[in-house]
């Protein structure tokens, strides 16, 4: 028995094709069967119909950097709870970082995660595999076997490989399998025991700073090694103006390098730390307002390709601490879209460009069929109200951890329906009362 769903009267925004037009989409058996622009589609017999008047229909978001607590720290987040949060935020696929206990550095674990996610998560979970055993930066993992098991890319998560020769080995071996290397940028010597952006504000707070060079020096090295090895390289997340310049220059010569930015570095700056607010303590630190403007410009110019949530659940025990002793990280799956839409509402970035960075660009980088509205693509779709006003309320958070850096924030833009494989996994209307 085939299932048919018609979404009509929508404003379709599809970054892959560059289309932004009224239209209708027909979904059959979890796959997009037809997309009609400027016209409607006759309702097939027995079809379920969503009247999307006033809503934007776009591909579901693909979040390239999400930490979960499963396996190992299920009290922080499970695949199930992360899936709930993702669905509510319009994220239909997320790349799961290998920083779990045990570390995802073995094909059997990738296989386990895929099966576990299918059984418990509402959205697609795409495991990233560790590129060094135990994320220790010493020995490479079995890239070929990890890829066969279903790993979508290689990364050491929040760890940064320090040895240039080890990185060269990783990149050339990854190129062998066509795998993308996603690398967190930290010169650990320069980062040292720094806990926030280096500068006047850190000095006033009496906190150790992290210089921008702790990011730009490894980035410059990585870009050169990427050119040397021919690997598909993705700088996990950048935060400062100098990194944008390095990327813009490298991209002129090498089409195989891309870069991401955390929504936190687009939406917030170091001043948000205020008086030691630990929810703003992040492992790529919040930088100055000038840097924030530079990464926004980088997104506009194409130097930066993707936006992700950097969703990192941490419990109160490790967050309610003196700043320097608190864990890094903030959750973000539920606020990613609305926080990114701030850039649209402020007129700084076009809607298509913002959505591209969370749909078709991640799909291209990871080689996914999703992220576009085209016949044959999986029906991972969202319908959202671009202007819907809401306020982030800690109590309404679906994630098991509550460490949001947007607590109390007033946002505009909310997902009304989330579809994964043609199935409606979230609707706003049925649960909006009292939650938002």
């Amino acid at each position: 028995m085939s299932s048919v769903l018609l979404i009509k009267n929508a404003r379709i925004v599809d970054p892959a094709s560059g289309m932004d037009s009224p239209g209708a989409v027909l979904v059959r058996d979890g796959v997009i069967a037809e997309a009609a622009y400027g016209q409607t589609i006759a309702t097939p017999e027995g079809a379920q119909v969503i009247d999307a008047r006033g809503l934007i229909l776009s591909p579901g978001l693909i979040d390239m950097r999400v930490f979960t607590g499963e396996p190992g720290k299920e009290y922080r987040e499970t695949l199930q709870s992360a899936g709930e949060a993702a669905a509510a935020g319009g994220v239909t696929s997320f790349v799961m970082m290998p920083d779990t206990a045990p570390v995802v550095d073995d094909g059997a674990l990738v296989d386990f995660l895929i099966r576990r996610a299918k059984a418990t998560s509402k959205v697609n979970v795409l495991p990233a595999a560790a590129m060094t055993k135990g994320l220790a930066g010493q020995e490479i993992t079995e890239f070929g076997l990890l890829q066969e098991a279903g790993a979508v890319c290689l990364t050491d998560g929040r760890h940064s490989v320090q040895s240039s020769s080890m990185l060269r080995t990783i990149m050339s071996y990854a190129a062998n399998y066509g795998l993308t290397v996603v690398h967190h940028l930290s010169d650990d010597g320069l980062t040292s025991d720094g806990v926030m952006n280096e500068g006047l504000f850190a000095t006033v707070l009496g906190l150790k700073g992290i210089p921008r060079e702790a990011e730009t020096i490894p980035l410059a090295r990585d870009l050169q090694l990427a050119a040397l090895t021919g690997v598909r390289y993705h700088a996990a997340q950048i935060s400062c103006a100098a990194s944008v310049e390095l990327l813009a220059a490298a991209k002129k010569r090498n089409r195989n390098v891309t870069a991401g930015v955390s929504i936190n570095n687009l939406a917030l700056n170091e001043n948000d730390i205020g008086r030691y607010r630990t929810f703003f303590k992040l492992s790529t630190p919040l930088r100055s307002e000038d840097d924030r403007q530079a990464v926004i410009e980088g997104l506009r110019s194409g130097a930066i390709d993707t936006i992700h949530s950097d969703h990192d659940p941490q419990d109160t025990e490790v967050k309610r601490q003196p700043f320097a002793e608190a864990s890094d990280g903030a959750i973000g799956l539920e606020t990613l879209l609305a926080a990114a839409l701030r850039l649209v509402h402020s007129g700084q970035v076009e809607l298509l460009a913002v959505l591209r960075a969370m749909t078709s660009r991640p799909a291209e980088i990871l080689g996914l069929a999703a992220g576009r509205i085209a016949p044959g693509a999986p029906a991972d779709l969202i319908l959202f109200d671009l202007d819907y006003p809401w306020q982030v309320n800690e109590k309404a958070i679906r994630s098991r951890s509550r460490n949001t850096s947007f607590e109390g924030a007033r946002l505009a833009g909310k997902v009304m329906y989330t579809l994964v494989g043609g199935q409606i996994v979230y609707t706003h209307s049925e649960e909006n009362q009292g939650r938002d």
Binding site: A202, T203, Y276, Q321, P322, A324, E325
Partner: protein
């Protein structure tokens, strides 16, 4: 009691009741204070000085109150100073030194805060190795909290006692030039002093090798020097800072002897300051590392006066935060 009261009023001429109520609940940072509040605390401290100079060193305005000194970092002089201050004001003083492993430090902080709060103290004096820890603790307890040093952030009573010492020796604070020399990057004393002196219109200079200057310092001090002689030229006050031995091990500074050669205060370097310049040090001193023993113990040194003013300042702060009759 009658005798005490009579003696008190005779000796001091006035009690804290003469000052308008101090509006702050905590003393967490100099940054929280207005200029008039700083001057108010200095004036209150001035009135406390005679208490410690009389035979019966008692001015029991805090009688019946409980003060807990909670020190997560070892300290002899600050803890001792707060203890004496509290006892001379008649408070019941308990000292708690918490030895904490780095792993469970924060957990200990919050847990300890809840435990101590249940004992219903009136004031907790806290020192902690992490910046912001004292403020965090103040959010978890119902009583007043005094910051006795939080990481490299602030040490407000040190800045107040330094200011009182300067005022006593120079007759004023405004318009002076004060040089602070040493490990600026890691010092909470510097931050509190720059804020306080800045609020009182002092020209501030910091002097240190570049390795020990934090980012943005030029926006916090009036002038920044790496040459000590140039930095000391015509200053009224020289404040020396302790150099932690572990910083002079080749990781930050090559050796103690090189540091002393270029940044240790000796007679020749001091000769560049005004002839009547005073020399200060928050202690504990490393003689022969940042200061020549002959200077530390010489005529320009007011280091022991600082210790005496420390007790007076802490008495004044306790008295201001816990006025008689106020229920906490």
């Amino acid at each position: 009691m009658g005798e005490t009261r009579a003696m008190t009023s005779n000796t001091l001429g006035a009690s804290s009741g003469d000052f308008p109520p101090f509006r702050q609940k905590h003393l967490l940072s100099i940054a929280d204070l207005q200029q008039h509040e700083i001057i108010d605390l200095l004036d209150r401290a001035e009135r406390m000085v005679p208490v410690s100079r009389q035979e019966r060193k008692s001015h029991p305005t805090l009688s019946g109150k409980t003060q807990i000194n909670l020190f997560f970092e070892p300290s002899t002089r600050t803890q001792g100073s707060f203890e004496i201050a509290g006892k001379r004001l008649g408070a019941l003083v308990m000292n708690m030194s918490v030895k904490s492993s780095s792993v469970s430090k924060g957990e200990t902080l919050i847990d300890t805060a809840a435990t101590l709060n249940a004992m219903r103290p009136d004031v907790i004096v806290v020192r902690h190795s992490a910046a912001g820890a004292v403020e965090l603790l103040s959010q978890k307890v119902g009583c007043s909290v005094i910051n006795a040093g939080d990481g490299a952030h602030e040490h407000p009573t040190q800045a107040l006692l330094d200011a009182l010492t300067i005022r006593n020796h120079k007759g004023r604070i405004s318009g002076l030039t004060v040089a602070i020399c040493g490990d600026i990057a890691n010092s909470r004393v510097v931050r509190s002093n720059l804020l306080l002196l800045g609020a009182l219109n002092v020209r501030t200079r910091v002097i240190a090798p570049r390795n020990l200057l934090p980012a943005g310092i030029e926006q916090l001090a009036t002038e920044v020097f790496t040459d000590m002689r140039a930095g000391l030229k015509d200053v009224d006050v020289v404040m020396m800072l302790r150099l932690q031995h572990e910083r002079a091990n080749g990781k930050m500074i090559p050796s103690v002897r090189e540091y002393y050669r270029f940044y240790g205060l000796d007679a020749e370097k001091l000769s560049h300051a005004k002839p009547d310049a005073i020399v200060m040090h928050p202690g504990p001193m490393n003689r022969g590392v940042e200061i020549d023993p002959a200077i530390a113990d010489g005529p320009a040194s007011v280091i022991t006066d600082q210790v005496e003013m420390g007790v007076a300042v802490r008495m004044a702060v306790l008295d201001a935060l816990l006025p008689a009759g106020r229920e906490s």
